[in-house]
Subunit: 201 residues, 2 copies
Amino acid sequence: MVYRRTPKVQARMDSQRAAILDAAVELLATRGYAGCSVVAVAQDAGVATGSVYRHFPSKAELVAELFRQLVTREVEAVERAAQQPGSAGERVVAVVDTFAARALKAPTLAYALLAEPVDTPVEAERIVFRRAFRDVIAARITEGVRDGTLPPQQAPLTAAAIVGAVAEVMIGPLTSGSEGAVGELPTFTLRALGAPDAGNP
Amino acid sequence: MVYRRTPKVQARMDSQRAAILDAAVELLATRGYAGCSVVAVAQDAGVATGSVYRHFPSKAELVAELFRQLVTREVEAVERAAQQPGSAGERVVAVVDTFAARALKAPTLAYALLAEPVDTPVEAERIVFRRAFRDVIAARITEGVRDGTLPPQQAPLTAAAIVGAVAEVMIGPLTSGSEGAVGELPTFTLRALGAPDAGNP
DNA sequence: CCAAGAAGTGAACCACTATTCATACCTTGA
DNA sequence: TCAAGGTATGAATAGTGGTTCACTTCTTGG
């Protein structure tokens, strides 16, 4: 054999792969999942349809990778928020605020990640997405329970419930454009945690 | 003209329509949305494919009608639970319990109604579904706030959040089969409402 | 019984897209 | 430069499943 894949070629291939993912993100953010057809992605990435399949075995894998990438980004942002100083309750509120603020800044993308109908393989990634958020919140709750600022509770359940609550409350604003009653989320969150500063009777 | 649609014919058509809806419910409950193809529905209903279109302008409309019917049933059950004696908090818990118990009894159906990917037109019905639940809960919360057993709050937001929380917590058990930590939902609900008997600090 | 007209049928049609693959074009090391 | 082998292409393919429509069957009132 004479041909060997050199770093130069590898770099070109990597950048093509990145271009495909970028185009897909862009399409997901502007037209939603429906606009993310393989042909459209390829066109926007400046490659041929077939080239997409040199990097991803199927469309589902492409979108799953997409989700993974976006989710990592979001989870990192939320984790940063979770590490700010303050009580466990305050930290969970910070997570919720960060989550909501970022979602409202990129509504179409957020809707796609949160709720838009997708094929089953991609749905699996969405579950990972939600679980990652849940885990970030659950970790804070566990801390709060340990240091006594939160009442004893099943941290994963409360955390899952808060994720669901936030997602549910956001879906209206995300699809309609208005901010709705998102501003009340912190109070709800504190109450749901059983935090002492939540104004409970 | 000689032909007129008589009550007898109308009755036959009505029962055919009902048969189609029944078959669709059955398929939705056993194979999920994916198993609900028009051909399969027609076959199970014992009619021709084309006959489906004599009753529904499109598959989306058929499924939307299906959703409407199922949602009405569920909302009625939940409303009954909401009218049992007790404090506002207890009533909301009764709603949540009823919702969860019924969902666990028909997991595939519940998953289809709650979370399974569907086309956009059907998604609209799902939103109606969730809003109906929200409204039932919000009404109890408003009562509780008025009679002082619950702290002042935006009832619709708390209600939406509780719906989202319940849905989120249920999705795991619904897809995996196990009951998970659903048993903790009442405590969470009471806490989220800010009810006095929730064991808050 | 019959003509008018409606209801019922289901195979064929069609739109939509993910996927393939024969072909053209590049890259490499000798 | 050249042969070997890889990479890129995009038109064609294929599977899916909703929808149609020419045709058959049934119903009605005279």
